[in-house]
């Protein structure tokens, strides 16, 4: 799995329910349009018999007591922020694809850990009032399809088997294409992909080919990444102003949920919370709470806020509320006097695993020179948690410029005069040699079938640049530049 999609069905209604305490557990629906033209856009599961597209009057007849509400853009922004924050806990490369939908680039992520994190993500979002589905697959499109079929998590490992039974509508055909394909008896993506691409191209043209590629899940695209939130604050304006604690606490809970998820995604914790109540008489009430222990734990924050709010008396009604969390790095361990260990071991090892998956196994680590004179002989070992105290400086410190290697070395033709290089010719480098030092003969492992021997020269080109040449049985190579 390279991508995953977090998708919240009926996102606008979920966002509304998060922001309005009176909708909790009640039959509710989101309406679009006005007056007699108003119809149901999204309905809660409690609203029995109410489906999207139904006229409002019919919906009220079907489900007496149903609460109807228009869209609330501020609530949607708040809900989208918590969804994006949850997506950042999976990977730093996140796209806000649409309202209630995020696509995440999982390149380099550990599959087992990511799956566990996805489940945590779903639990957190459900707790925050967003019933989320996650689909993971090889392309963003496939992941999107998987999210729509997920219950609540679906990881697609066998693309063909996953796609075959899906209805054709998943590939988003145009009405004209639907009509033609329906006439051919094609109902599923499997039916369509059973036909060859060439046949589809011949009969339906380039649009048909695009449809066929979508049906096979081959279509991919670059994500438009968004930045994670760096300000951990939230603000809400009450209309009309409130005078009791319940709506205030309901709103603060939603804020705290979102900020806690954002902090955890950024591997931070809150050291201090600042609550500001803007009153109707244009004064404000501000209070900062220094947390006993820096954390991103929602329950402990709510305990602090709740116990304080119960004692607050204000001169006027509350018109606006703001909650700000002051972030710090999580103090994962107690620092010793001269301790230079890892500040955040979990992030360190997790990120190394991620990097290893990006660049390939065995290409990340601390280099350790092997006990041989063979050039470029080293192994990469696991970095230590504690950087040891430095050793005494070497008795014979290296002199001159330092080698930067060309891997693989560049094959070259070298002209010789009196057994010394005078000119070099290779696709990457050519020129007349004005100064030469060498050769140094090194060989080893003569007792093994693959004995090695190399003759090394340092040469300076007339145009500038000092290079290391190596001459072996296979010819000349430019091993690197002395820089």
């Amino acid at each position: 799995m390279k991508f995953c999609v977090l998708w919240v069905p009926d996102f606008r209604l979920h966002a509304l329910r998060r922001s309005d305490a009176t909708l909790a557990g009640r039959a509710a629906a989101l309406i679009i349009g006005e007056g007699r033209k108003a119809t149901i856009a999204e309905a809660s599961p409690e609203a029995k018999g109410v489906t999207p597209g139904l006229a409002v009057t019919l919906a009220m007849a079907q489900c007496p007591g149903i609460i109807l509400r228009p869209r609330d853009p501020a609530a949607e922004v708040e809900a989208q922020r918590i969804l994006i924050a949850a997506a950042f806990s999976l990977s730093p490369r996140v796209e806000a694809t649409a309202a209630g939908c995020c696509t995440v680039d999982l390149q380099g992520a550990d599959a087992v850990r990511t799956e566990a994190q996805m489940r945590i993500c779903i639990r957190e979002l459900v707790k925050a009032g967003l019933s989320t589905r996650i689909g993971a697959a090889a392309t963003p499109l496939l992941a999107n399809m998987a999210a729509q079929c997920a219950g609540p998590l679906l990881i697609v490992s066998d693309t063909r088997n996953f796609l075959s039974p899906l209805p054709l509508s998943f590939a988003a055909p145009t009405p004209a294409q639907t009509e033609i394909l329906s006439g051919w008896g094609i109902r599923t993506l499997g039916d369509l992909t059973a036909l060859s691409k060439a046949d589809i191209a011949q009969r339906l043209g380039t649009e048909g080919v695009t449809l066929w590629e979508r049906a096979t899940g081959e279509t991919t695209r670059a994500l438009r990444h968004v930045e994670p939130s760096r300000t951990f604050e939230a603000e809400w304006e009450y209309e009309p102003p409130v005078e009791s604690i319940e709506p205030l606490f309901f709103r603060l809970r939603a804020f705290a949920e979102r900020i806690a998820v954002e902090l955890r995604a950024a591997q931070l914790v809150a050291e201090e919370l600042t609550l500001t109540l803007f009153l109707e008489d244009e004064t404000d009430y501000r209070r900062s709470f220094r947390l006993p222990e820096a954390n991103a734990d929602l329950d402990s924050w709510l305990r602090v806020l709740d116990s304080h709010l119960e004692t607050v008396r204000t001169a006027a009604r509350v018109a606006r509320v703001r909650l700000v969390a002051k972030p710090i790095r999580a103090p994962e361990k107690q620092g010793g006097l001269f301790d230079t260990g890892l500040r955040d071991p979990a992030a360190f090892w997790e990120n190394l695993a991620r990097v290893s998956a990006i660049v390939g196994e065995g290409r990340v680590g601390t280099p350790l020179l092997t006990d041989t004179h063979k050039p470029d002989a080293f192994v990469l070992v696991k970095p230590t948690e504690l950087v040891p105290a430095p050793a005494d400086p070497p008795i014979h410190p290296p002199r001159g410029l330092r080698l930067r290697r060309f891997r693989p070395p560049w094959p070259a033709q070298v002209e010789l005069a009196e057994h010394r290089p005078t000119a070099i010719e290779s696709p990457q480098l050519r020129g007349e040699i004005c100064a030469v030092v060498g050769p140094w003969h090194v060989s080893g492992e003569w007792w093994k079938p693959k004995a090695w021997a190399v003759e090394t020269w340092h040469v300076e080109l007339r145009e500038g640049g000092v290079y290391q040449l190596a001459h072996t049985g296979d010819g000349w190579r430019v091993e690197g530049v002395l820089d």
Partner: protein, 218 residues
């Protein structure tokens, strides 16, 4: 000896033994190369990108990297080297100066930038070095500015200093760009590292008006 005198003696002993531990938080990370540190004020700036351009071969870029490894090693700070062209030669530096190094051997420029994005956010590294020397010119020029702007945004919110080693001016809107333009010859092979570093000429192309450190001093 009174208790206060004992504490004072202990403090001065610690300060003498671990000079780097006593520096203030938020300071730059010294590279150990006088001309570079002077040009930047107090070494590489935390939460900022610094670009070091090696415009000619053998200009001393690898020498600066070797010294930075030594300096961070002495301070027991962790350094990540994201090696886009896989050119770092571990045998070219003393083995002890590798113990704090996390070396990432990339295969492509895109991988290197993705890895930089991950490691800069990590929080465990004092310095992240992104070495782009050796990457094909075409690939470097094809790289969209968006990737660099994204890296800028990430870096400014994180603690490590980020050094980008490039073969030509590359990073748009970089706060500090230093240029190495003077090639060394074979004659330098007998010189100690100190003498070679003392001979380095660094031009400040961004951060201050274009002038050499020697000109600024004189």
């Amino acid at each position: 000896m009174s208790r206060l005198a004992t504490f004072a003696a202990l403090r001065s002993l610690v300060a003498a033994r671990f000079p780097d531990r006593t520096r203030r938080h938020g300071d730059g990370v010294p590279t150990g190369v006088a001309v570079v540190d002077d040009a930047l004020g107090s070494g590489l700036h935390a939460s900022q990108l610094t670009e070091l351009v090696s415009e000619v071969p053998s200009a001393g870029g690898q020498l600066v990297l070797a010294r930075l490894l030594e300096t961070t090693r002495a301070a027991r700070q962790r350094l990540a080297l994201i090696d886009a062209a896989d050119g770092f030669a571990p045998e070219a530096v003393p083995p002890d100066t590798l113990k704090h190094l996390v070396w990432v051997r990339c295969r492509a420029l895109a991988d290197a930038l993705t890895v930089a994005d991950v490691l800069v956010r990590d929080g465990n590294y004092a310095v992240v070095v992104l070495d782009l020397r050796g990457v094909a010119d075409r690939a470097l020029k094809k790289q969209s500015a968006t990737a660099w702007h994204r890296l800028h945004r990430v870096v400014e919110n994180e603690a490590p200093a980020v050094l980008v080693l490039t073969p030509c001016p590359l990073v748009p809107s970089v706060p500090w760009r230093l240029v190495l333009r003077t090639p060394h010859g074979l004659a330098s092979r007998r010189l100690t590292q100190e003498k070679l570093l003392a001979q380095l000429t660094v031009e400040i192309a961004r951060g201050h008006a274009t002038q050499t450190v020697a000109e600024r001093a004189g």
